[in-house]
């Protein structure tokens, strides 16, 4: 039974991807028919045509969005919509950058401490919507939107008013110490010339941890139960308030780590002082939806979205702007919201086929 549901979920994701890509193709055709075919092929195969560097870049882009995807997906599993990932992301990034700049004396464990700081900061920031939901019944979507902006302005404020953190000339945060950068863990050898680093392994490990937490522990079971049916879980004696707060804190921790992994990647990224929410946080929503909130699905969806995003960069060679990729992703998300419809449609088809088989051969549709 569970297998069947998963396969329908997978099909509805696939359906959304196909529709998204088709819409992308149509837009390419309308904007420049002669280059459309070449452009479409670039989207699909771009990263593969640039050797090991191209593939490495895909994993580099995938690293933070897998974590924000896990963050949103984990919250979904527990019945919460964590649209606060952009805020948790930047607050986590800030903590990582502060430790990265100021604690050079830590030596070998410097990057680990920075990562831990980001995790804690993200968790605390994520816990705020959880707290106000648990104790004051505030809708977490709205509370998350508020904490996104508060977090973004707060980080901009804290960096731009602190001389030891702020690079006035470029209007972004200063370089972190070399020891704060995530070790390459051999990936720079395999994918020469790309920015991929040990952060990717951390993302995979985080997916594994979340999978075990959700599927193999009592605590995870309780959190999921609250997601399925809040009242039933309370009736069963589970501490609903505590579970909501912890769910949001864990989701926030994951987004916080995502922020650290991006700005400690050693790829020349700095926190820019602009009044813009972190895109990686919103991409996390896409990743989670496409990956059906399942940790393994999120891992694959993160790599997929990173893959077509990387393909989008090569599109510029054909004079298409990279935003076409965002359009495609948006369409994919729009159609993945139709999963209920796809589910009904597919199970309707199956039933029809079963009935047909039953009518034709005079036996029940046991094959399914």
């Amino acid at each position: 039974m569970k297998k069947k549901r998963d396969s329908i979920g997978f099909l509805s994701s696939l359906f959304a991807i196909v529709v998204g890509l088709l819409v992308g193709l149509v837009i390419l055709l309308i904007s420049n028919p002669s280059q459309a075919a070449a452009g479409f092929i670039t989207i699909l195969t771009g990263p593969l045509t640039h050797g090991s560097k191209g593939v490495g870049q895909v994993f580099y882009y995938a690293t933070p969005i897998i974590l924000t995807g896990l963050s949103v997906g984990f919250a979904f599993k527990t019945g919460l919509f964590n649209i606060g990932a952009p805020g948790q992301f930047i607050v986590g990034a800030f903590a990582a950058v502060v430790v990265g700049i100021k604690c050079g004396f830590l030596g070998g464990i410097h990057w680990l401490v920075a990562l831990l700081a980001a995790m804690i900061a993200g968790a605390l920031w994520g816990a705020i919507p959880g707290l106000v939901k648990a104790y004051f019944n505030v809708n977490e979507v709205i509370a998350c939107i508020m904490t996104n902006y508060i977090g973004m302005y707060m980080v901009n404020y804290l960096i731009s008013t602190n001389k030891s953190l702020y690079d006035k000339i470029y209007n972004y945060s200063k370089n972190v110490a070399g020891t704060a950068n995530i070790p390459k863990m051999g990936l720079d050898v395999i994918f020469e010339g790309s920015s991929v680093n040990g952060g990717f392994f951390i993302a995979v490990a985080a997916a594994a941890v979340i999978f075990i937490l959700l599927e193999k522990t009592t605590f995870g079971y309780e959190l999921k139960a609250a997601g399925f049916n809040k009242d039933a879980s309370r009736y069963a004696g589970m501490n609903e308030k505590r579970n909501i707060i912890l769910s949001m804190a864990i989701a926030g921790a994951l987004s916080g780590i995502a922020g650290a992994l991006l700005y400690l990647a050693g790829s020349g990224k700095h926190i820019e002082i602009a009044d813009v929410l972190a895109g990686e946080g919103f991409t996390g929503i896409s990743v989670a939806l496409l990956g059906l909130s399942n940790p393994v699905g999120v891992l694959l969806a993160g790599i997929f979205i990173a893959y077509i995003t990387a393909g989008g960069f090569y599109l510029q060679l054909l004079n298409f702007s990279t935003e076409i990729i965002d359009v495609i992703i948006a369409v994919i998300i729009y159609f993945s919201a139709f999963s209920l419809f796809v589910r009904v449609f597919i199970s309707g088809l199956r039933r029809k086929r079963e009935e047909h088989a039953a009518g034709g051969k005079g036996e029940g549709g046991k094959k399914e």
Partner: protein, 317 residues
């Protein structure tokens, strides 16, 4: 005194778009559909109408051009919002997800098309719409300086829509039915109201006002459109909640948020604030913090439509 007038006029530029968009969100939520796509709708409305202004520059009289742009912005908003209505009403999709998708789509689409047409992602326009002083009314002491100088016709359209909203929502059959659908759609259905049609109407009104709000936001505050409305759609959601889903309270909330935005943007020009030493980021954060605090005190006894966000299913009990 002149500083005070300047601050007030500036505040209006920020208040009116927030008011319009929040009123739009209000209609949608009273019909039972949560519309967090307001940000995307604003972007689409602003994009098509600013593009129109860009393409017809110099060939049309300023006020006529602005009036046509208003129609285009509202029309675009309606069309774009229909995607949300289709997902939410027909497909019974998760409304937050559908809204998020539209929010992602709009800026990407605007940049892609702008690059395709003009080569750059910014759409430039000349602001020929500012009214220095409304004849006669602008000469009234105090009130003239507050409301009828350095202004745009969109300000008056904003107030007209506010009054219209109060009448429609509380004094017409349509308004009553709309609110019934947001509170208890099964009950509304049982007395013969077509819930799906009312929800479509609610979302389409939010599209029209959202698209219009996008244009109204960009025109006084910039000379180009860069595929962004700077989070005003989300801020409008906060205004809607701060205003507890009631049009007049929404005006108050919009004014408060507009004032904070004005102070954050131009506090160095306001003598007593410039010397106070409070950084502008604090003013930028205040609206969001205030909303969070208001939410904490009001959510237990929220005025939100009871059935919002739940797809209406005829068969459900």
């Amino acid at each position: 005194m002149s500083t005070l007038y300047l601050v007030f006029q500036q505040t209006m530029f920020f208040t009116i778009p927030l008011l319009l968009v929040a009123l739009g969100g209000m209609f949608s939520e009273h019909s039972g559909i949560i519309n967090i796509a307001l940000e995307g709708i604003m972007i689409m409305g602003a994009f098509t109408s600013i593009l129109f202004i860009n393409l017809t520059q110099d060939s049309l009289n300023g006020q006529v051009q602005l009036f046509l742009a208003i129609l285009i912005a509202a029309g675009t908003g309606i069309l774009f919002a229909l995607f949300h209505a289709f997902a939410a009403v027909n497909m019974k999709a998760d409304q937050t997800i559908s809204g998020t998708a539209l929010n992602m789509f709009a800026p990407a689409f605007a940049i892609f098309v702008a690059r395709r047409i003009g080569g750059t992602q910014q759409v430039q326009f000349k602001n020929t719409f500012r009214i220095e002083s409304v004849p006669l009314l602008g000469d009234i002491p105090v009130i003239g300086s507050l409301f009828f100088r350095n202004t745009y016709i969109t300000t008056y359209i904003g107030f007209a829509i506010l009054i219209l909203s109060v009448i429609v929502l509380y004094r017409t059959r349509f308004g009553l039915r709309l609110r019934a659908c947001g509170e208890h759609p099964q009950a509304a259905d049982s007395v013969g109201i077509n819930v799906y049609r009312m929800q479509y109407a609610g979302v389409m009104i939010s599209g029209a006002l959202g698209g219009l709000g996008g244009l109204v936001f960009v025109v006084p505050t910039s000379t180009n459109f860069n595929a962004s409305v700077a989070g005003y759609g989300f801020l409008a959601l906060a205004v809607l909640i701060f205003g507890q889903w009631h049009p007049v309270k929404i005006l108050g909330a919009a004014f408060f948020f507009g004032l904070m935005k004005t102070v954050a943007a131009s506090y160095s020009a306001i003598p007593f604030l410039a010397t106070s030493g409070i950084p502008s980021y604090i003013y930028k954060m205040v609206p969001y913090i205030a909303t969070l605090i208001v939410l904490i005190f009001t959510s237990k006894n929220s005025q939100a439509p009871k059935a919002e966000g739940i797809p209406y299913d005829k068969g459900a009990r």
